[in-house]
Amino acid sequence: MIEICDVVKSFGDTRAVDEVSLMIAPHTICALVGTSGSGKTTLLRMINRLVEPTSGNIRVDGRDVMSVPAYELRRQMGYVIQGHGLFPHWTIARNIATVPSLLGWDRRTIDRRVDELLDLFQLDPATYRNRLPGELSGGQRQRVGVARALAAKPNILLMDEPFGALDPVTRGKAQEELRIIQQKFGTTIVLVTHDMDEATHLGDRIAVLDKGRLLQHGEPADIIANPATDFVRELVGTTDRAFRLLSLATLGEHVESGTADGEPLEATMTLRSAYSELLWSGRKAAPVARDGTVLGIVTLDGLGRLAARP
């Protein structure tokens, strides 16, 4: 649980963060969105005290962050910095092992953890363990950055545009990995992004910042359907909000009864992909299946109703 109460951060005359109060529930992903310079990074860095608030306070699991030594606080949280920030003179293994080493884990536990994480991010340990960051591609470096943040199994993960430099395909994969990890370990994640798709896709809740102020905080569907201000409406985008709404749910959650012909669609597919699939194959309906068992059907009409303004 992260509680941000009336937090202000001023740099000279500018208020980078202006009286923000925000509650982030345990085991959820909160996406911080906003345009460049809106104060996302500053707000994030106040959670691990890389920036100290001018006023207001931040509590993590009930404890004021200012009441613990900064280094201790930071070792308990994973931090993925904007632009990866790997140590260029350390091997990938040593980079990932940073926090476990600081915490004094024994050698063997650390080695096992490093290999486990490399596996998780689909980097073959034997190949990559002893490479330097300079010998990896940009996308691989970003994944190592995330692995390093996860190494000591933190309950809280702070991520500053972790997938910024990735191509759409790799980015999609990395987002899936993050989703899986989050569900497996119940990590509380604060994710800074300016990609609204990423925010709606990953966030349980979205917090919209503009000029340091928190404009709206709510579930993605709510923000898409009822943007609080013109700025939020613009950020959400008016032309494709119906599709954004569809991308929030999976087929499995909206199975209709009936029968339909043709290739079945997987229940884990988002409504948006299913809609596209139906249009593409020229069908009005298709069976929905999970692991080979047909659960029911999905229809264009049904999807049409789900995409309409709630």
């Binding site: 691990n48 890389l50 900064a70 931090y79 910095i81 790997l86 140590f87 260029p88 960051p133 390093r148």
Partner: protein
């Protein structure tokens, strides 16, 4: 390193050691530079002893400059030390604006003749290159890297030793190389105030009009400077590779 480069460096090293340990082997060659009746090989002391003392003087002066300059660079790049950046820059600059001869001349009345004024001059002269390069090195560490180190929960000392110093090592070594090569040639001037360096050989040659002395003193100093310079370059290169540059 190219094979030719390696051969040349090895040849230089062999020549240096040979010349210093057994200068009589070169008597015939050096005799080409003498006038009738003059000795061709330096005969007022041991070349080996002078070379060692020359190197020791340079090494101790530069070690002292490095200690102070690197320490100063670290200090002024810490949050509590940034206010002192302009002052320390000015201080290190003083060492450079004085010509070494002037420093020597000023030191003699204060410190007397001998090794001390030379040490002081070399020490002052060595400060600026090391300081400037260490400063450049420490400030060249990319901000995301230092921020990451902080964000991971490293304490200030752990960040300095684990991240900042290794990453600025190549530039620090470059500063050390500059100072050392300058000091190697400047140390020779120290013999004008009676410091036991290879300058003695050159000065003796100049005083007696014996070009052979000047040549052997000059060649030894030059070879020392070139070889030590090359050694540093190799060290910097390996450091650079180690930090993935």
């Amino acid at each position: 390193m190219s094979p030719l480069g390696l051969v040349l460096r090895l040849a230089g090293l062999v020549l240096l050691v040979w010349l210093v340990v057994q200068p009589t082997a070169f008597a015939g060659l050096l005799a080409l530079f003498t006038r009738p009746g003059q000795p061709s090989v330096y005969n007022q002391g041991s070349l080996l002893a002078l070379t060692i003392s020359h190197l020791l003087i340079v090494a101790s002066a530069i070690a002292a400059s490095a200690l102070l300059a690197v320490g100063l660079a670290i200090f002024v790049t810490r949050p509590f030390g940034v206010d002192f950046l302009p002052v320390s820059r000015a201080l290190a600059n003083i060492g450079q604006t004085f010509p070494p001869v002037a420093v020597l001349a000023l030191c003699v009345p204060l410190l007397g003749f001998g090794t001390t004024p030379t040490l002081v001059a070399l020490f002052l002269y060595g400060l600026l290159p090391i300081f400037e390069n260490s400063l450049a090195g420490l400030s060249s560490v990319p901000p995301p890297v230092t921020e990451a180190a902080k964000g991971m929960g490293m304490k200030p000392m752990q960040r300095l030793i684990g991240v900042e110093l290794p990453l600025s090592m190549p530039l620090m070594l470059a500063g050390l190389r500059l100072s050392t090569t300058i000091a190697l040639s400047t140390a020779a001037i120290g013999s004008t105030v009676a410091a036991p360096t290879l300058g003695e050989v050159i000065i003796a040659g100049l005083q007696t009009g014996n070009t052979a002395f000047v040549v052997q003193g000059g060649v030894i100093v030059a070879l020392l400077a070139v070889l030590i310079h090359e050694g540093f370059v190799a060290l910097e290169r390996s450091q650079r590779r180690r930090i993935g540059l």
